[in-house]
Subunit: 232 residues, 2 copies
């Protein structure tokens, strides 16, 4: 096991609807085969035009957008809504975000974040000739624990979950805990060099286990089917 | 913002009750001021003698230990128990673990993981003259998302949560999402070089934001008071 590097990608221009993210990233980052590129949801949503006009002084209008983006509300307290999105994510306000967006607009989650990741991956391959993994990340709260962390909402070319079933621990006993959500850990690691306020929406993780680089999907591997969930 | 490195610490001996972890880590890692040392719960529990004899073929005996380590059971399905520990962590089997422990023993969580982290930090300062942050990590499942991730259960000398309240995003608007659980993100990042089966229980994160290096506590900063929790 060798060291990993987590490298912030600076110098990206402000992203606007219609921008091709792969082109912007290719112009700002020196990528190598096997890198994992983590891109925050906000710039993906902006590039894909997932923006919705909203009056910042109209909480009812904001609530209407959140309801429309939700398939089910799990909890409500004051202004806070915890709901399930069409993708199966459970998060605050259905992932609708008012920060880091032009005044008067809300950013909605990408329609299909795995596809968003695939498009960036394909675009980077076409432009730079490199084969990289791509993760689209977002910032989620958690039950029972304070503070938010970044998690993966989409991926391409890098595993969402690595299955260690059947492998043995250092003393030869079969492992109890077997499936590691490496895409979530990569998203969390990338956030450490982004900072919420510093405007660095992309980071590169270099040195990941090459066996993790394969076709993958957050939706298929990480979103837990409601029937198997003890907290839904 | 500069790059981070995540460096696995290899060559540690098998840890036994009574071992001084700071001494073992000091002998295996070239540490620098400002590093964050992430140590997995398993070796902390072993060094602190938090081992309990258990018959691997006696599920009732195992369940009794889990009940004793729990203050409240939240969910139960088959063999799986989701419970709250004395520390306020909500996790599977009250954090009691049978893997990577000698046959016939279960590892219980440290009594006070913040104190465990402090002891390692103080020991590293005494031995190497360096000032580092220390995180004790463990592997937790999550509701709604498949796969496990490493999180912080104790810390010393490095923030558990960084408060960005009042700072402004790149467009000058006040941030909505303000408190980032950097200790959890550091634990997740470290796991990426540990691997569940490879027997690397310690990793070093080099290059973290120096403002994060302060007195801190997972218990005070991350454990959410039950009254504020929507899912308890």
């Amino acid at each position: 096991m060798t060291a990993l590097s987590i490298i912030p990608v600076t110098g990206l221009p402000e992203v606007r609807p219609g921008d091709v993210l792969a082109e912007l990233i290719a112009g700002a980052a020196a990528l190598e085969d096997g890198d994992v590129v983590v891109v925050t949801q906000k710039v993906v949503s902006k590039a894909e035009g997932r923006l919705e006009p909203v009056d910042p002084d109209d909480p009812r209008g904001q609530r209407a957008i959140i309801e429309r983006e939700s398939v089910r509300v799990l909890r409500r307290r004051g202004d806070l809504v915890i709901s399930e999105t069409r993708h199966g994510f459970v998060c605050a306000n259905a992932g609708v975000d008012l920060s880091n967006v032009d005044e008067g607009y809300a950013a909605l989650l990408p329609v299909d974040p795995d596809r968003s990741a695939r498009r960036i991956r394909d675009g980077l391959r076409a432009r730079l000739g490199v084969s990289v993994g791509v993760i689209v990340s977002d910032t989620f709260g958690r039950p029972w624990r304070q503070g938010v962390v970044d998690v993966a909402i989409g991926c391409a070319g890098v595993a969402a979950v690595v299955d260690l079933r059947g492998t043995r621990d250092a003393s030869g006993r079969e492992l109890q805990v077997t499936e590691v959500a490496v895409a979530d850990e990569l998203a969390a690691a990338a956030e450490l060099v982004m900072g919420k306020a510093s405007g660095v929406p992309v980071a590169v993780v270099r040195g990941v286990d090459p066996t993790w680089l394969r076709e993958a999907s957050v939706r298929r591997e990480i979103v837990r089917p409601p029937g198997e969930d003890l907290f839904r």
